[in-house]
Amino acid sequence: MHHELTVWSRGIIMDKEARDVSTCVTAAARQLGYYAENVSDYVDDPDRTNCLVRRYARFADEPILDRFVYENPHPDWVVLVEETIIKAVNFFRLTADGEGVLVINSARDPYYLLKFLPDHMLAKLAKLVVVDATGLAEQRGSSPWMFVRDLSELAFDRMSTEGAVERLAIGRGIAAPLIGALVAATGVLPVDAVAEVVADRDAMLRGATQHTVVEYAREP
């Protein structure tokens, strides 16, 4: 058993959310006795606002041999912290055909999102999981995003504020429902066990129950 999780997000303004997803999955996997690794990617120049950034987690029941390769070579779980990334990049590079689980933070219709995947990416897709993490997360003020009120204000963030108001708790805000949806939809790690390591347990469990799954590979 070997799973590779790549979380895609945007530099600075929503970096912490991505990091929390991979960290929680790794921590839970370790506690469950798996071999696990959690890596941040710095080659994408994550100090740039809006820039695509990745966080990697992988776990297996035998030692992980790709020690000097921090990019996941064959990601089978992919989480998009912000929905527009579906248009941005081939996040299924080197994923095995029909094995990719894609979790998107979006309030849109899953079939609308699917329209933006080209055939070669659809070939890799096993299931699409759509969770409105922004809506399910704990609302801080009027929004769960870290520093600002809503996404449209987030778009104007040029403060490079990452770390300025860092929240030490891991698994708060947007990350919690995303983790819930990912863990529940993949079914490899027990939801309750993962919930133990997520700071906002309630939001994580909301995400675990309130999401839409499209079993794409099984659809005719």
Binding site: N50, P63, V69, E83, I86, V89, S152
Partner: protein
């Protein structure tokens, strides 16, 4: 699916981080379609400026101010002429709802739009050839009857002509122009200007005005309906309401409308040197000021309204005061006093205030015991206007006005009778009538070509708060120059408000903030840190966003002075075929970084094996040491 960004030419295929060519290098940018950074896209979305929205004719004011700014007067003139056939008239007499709505009022002072309109209108009048004429379509053989040659009728004829229809205008008076001639004094609107504007319309061909023809007497409505494709009723309201007071029949009590009409038509009028004007609206002000000019004496406006409630246009009121017009606010006429010959010799006034009954009818509330006697030799009555509508079928009219639906259609079986202007809406502005004429022409065209009539599309009006006001320096308004009050008092033909010079018109046009409409200021082009705003010509809205590269930093949106740039969620663009995917910046092709080299993997496997062996042999291992000791 586009493959831009995934194709890397051979010579650039360098697998090592940091040495791929920067985007500035030849072909380099093609590798980095950084459009995938973006989750909001800047989009040019022109809104409706408040001036344009407030103008009943829908003049594209921002557009022609922009043309004036760039010395393109002919383009500016043609822009006005798309909506309003007589800018020289409205440039003088309009009550400028545009200036009232102008966002600049919240910034410093509204723009002198009317003055610029007059500047362009007079520019157009002075052209040797009417530039509108050459773009007119040929006549389509259908003719519309128009009743009344006031602003509503003339505008309808003009806009019908632009759509290929001929028209015949029936005018009861001896000269065309309706209220423009018979209601507005020459010191507001010189006769020569009005004549020139009407001549310009007639010169377009296909428009005929039959003066001295009163519908109802000389021609019947049924004749119009059967002989013409459609009928537009724009006969206005030109009969003054009678004074309902004791002595109201005395010689010397004259309707203000009748007084203004006779002067406007150039007939001799008699007016005393001591004039009382009853009423609190613009007609009262015009009549009082004309009375001073013609009679050479004094005039006092007696109104129920308090001074700050007067319905007189504020600048007109100020000009009237300069000219010596007296005010008696909060007073009502109780009785007219006459001498032995039946001539007016004075009036009894009482303090009063304006009140309205449940139907909205004005009911004066007099204070008993406050009657005073004043001397006067003429009383001008300006307490409202009506129109004789007895010749119309009864179901056409309601409370002295012509009934019409939202498209100006009279409840007529054929659906081809329209109405507009004062006769439909009650006393209102010249520009309202011009707007009604324009809409009637559009809807007549729709009805006659078998199209359904439909309301205008909803528009988004740009509020001041959405402008980036930091970009607009405070600049005072240039008021239109005035003739000296002394000269004005003695001449009925000296214009009160004078024209802007070219420089003044330019300065006013330059103050336009172009609310919500791209005016080609180049700001987005300059501030874009990514060279993603492209420009072909420097003109309204001629920018494009290079969506392959725009990172969605939205600096352009923040720095757009006019607010025409908006951010739209990228996911709202339902264009899967336009999606450009890129590989991440420093792993430009598939496979770079992503897999362990076999040799390295072998080393790791050996190391793990050695570690396991050392554990089973209980030997210690030095991490990062020279190797496994045996």
């Amino acid at each position: 699916m586009s493959v831009r960004g995934t194709h890397v030419p051979e010579h650039l295929r360098l697998p090592i981080a940091g040495v791929t060519p920067p985007p500035t290098e030849k072909d380099g940018q093609r590798l980095f379609p950084t459009g995938n950074f973006r989750f909001f896209r800047p989009v040019y979305k022109d809104k409706t400026p408040p001036c344009n929205h407030a103008c009943p004719t829908g003049e594209q004011i921002q557009k022609y101010l922009d043309y004036v700014k760039h010395d393109r007067y002919l383009d500016g003139y043609l822009t006005i002429m798309q909506d309003n056939p007589m800018p020289s008239v409205t440039g003088r007499v309009c009550y400028h709802p545009c200036e009232t709505a102008c966002n600049r009022a919240a910034h410093d002072e509204p723009i002198g739009i009317r003055g610029v309109e007059r500047f362009l209108g007079d520019y157009g009048l002075n052209l040797a050839e009417n530039p509108v004429k050459k773009d007119l379509p040929p006549l389509n053989g259908r003719t519309v009857a128009i009743v009344g040659s006031g602003p509503g009728g003339l505008a309808c004829a003009y806009h019908l002509r632009r759509r290929g229809y001929a028209s015949v205008i029936f005018e009861a008076l001896a000269k065309p122009g309706g209220m423009l001639r018979a209601g507005i004094p020459a010191w507001h609107l010189p006769e020569a200007i009005l004549d020139a504007e009407i001549a310009k319309l007639l010169d377009l061909g296909g428009i005929e005005i039959r003066c001295g023809t009163r519908i109802g007497d000389d021609v019947t409505l049924d004749q119009l309906r059967t002989s013409y494709a459609a009928v537009f009723l724009a006969l206005g309201q030109d009969i003054g309401r009678r004074l309902d007071a004791e002595g109201g029949q005395a010689r010397g009590v004259v309707g203000a409308m009748e007084f203004l009409r006779e002067t406007g038509l150039g007939r001799p009028v008699r007016i005393g040197r001591d004039v009382l004007v009853i009423g609190g609206g613009n007609t009262a002000s015009d009549a009082a000021r004309s009375a001073i000019r013609i009679g050479g004496g004094a005039a006092t406006i007696v109104s129920l309204e308090a001074e700050d409630e007067l319905l007189i246009q504020p600048e007109d009121l100020a000009h009237a005061k300069e000219e010596g017009v007296g005010l008696r606010p909060n007073h009502a006429l109780v009785r007219v006093l006459t001498d032995d010959g039946g001539n007016v010799s004075g009036a009894v006034l009482a303090r009063a205030r304006l009140a309205k009954d449940d139907n909205g009818t004005v009911v004066p509330h007099l204070t008993p015991g406050t009657e005073t006697e004043v001397r006067c030799d003429t009383i001008l009555v300006a307490i409202g206007q009506v129109q004789v509508l007895g010749w119309l079928p009864a179901h056409y009219t309601e409370r002295g006005l012509v009934r019409a639906d939202e498209f100006g259609r009279v409840p007529d079986e054929g659906g081809t009778v329209f109405a507009g202007g004062d006769v439909m809406r009650g006393p209102s502005m010249v520009v309202d009538a011009l707007g009604d004429g324009k809409r009637a022409a559009r809807d007549i065209d729709r009805v006659l070509s078998g199209e359904p009539v439909r309301p205008d599309d909803p528009v988004e009006v740009m509020p001041y708060e959405k402008l980036n006001t930091a970009y607009f320096r405070h600049a005072p308004r240039t008021e239109a120059p005035l003739a000296p009050a002394g000269t004005r008092r003695t001449s009925h033909v000296t214009e009160v408000t004078l024209a802007y010079s070219r420089e003044e018109a330019l300065a006013e046009a330059d103050r336009c903030m172009s609310c919500g409409v791209c005016n080609g200021c180049d700001n987005c082009y300059i501030v874009c840190p990514d060279v993603s705003v492209m420009r072909d010509t420097r003109q309204n809205g001629h920018y494009s966003i290079r969506t392959h590269y725009c990172k969605g930093c939205l600096v352009c949106v923040q720095e757009c002075p006019t607010g025409c740039l908006e951010k739209v969620p990228e996911m709202d663009f339902d264009e899967p075929d336009a999606v450009v995917r890129m590989e991440t910046a420093f792993a430009p092709y598939e496979g770079a970084h992503a897999e362990q080299a076999p040799f390295t993997r072998q080393l790791i496997e050996e190391a793990i094996a050695a570690y396991d062996a050392s554990r089973s042999n209980s030997q210690s291992v030095q991490p990062n040491g020279p190797g496994v000791t045996s």
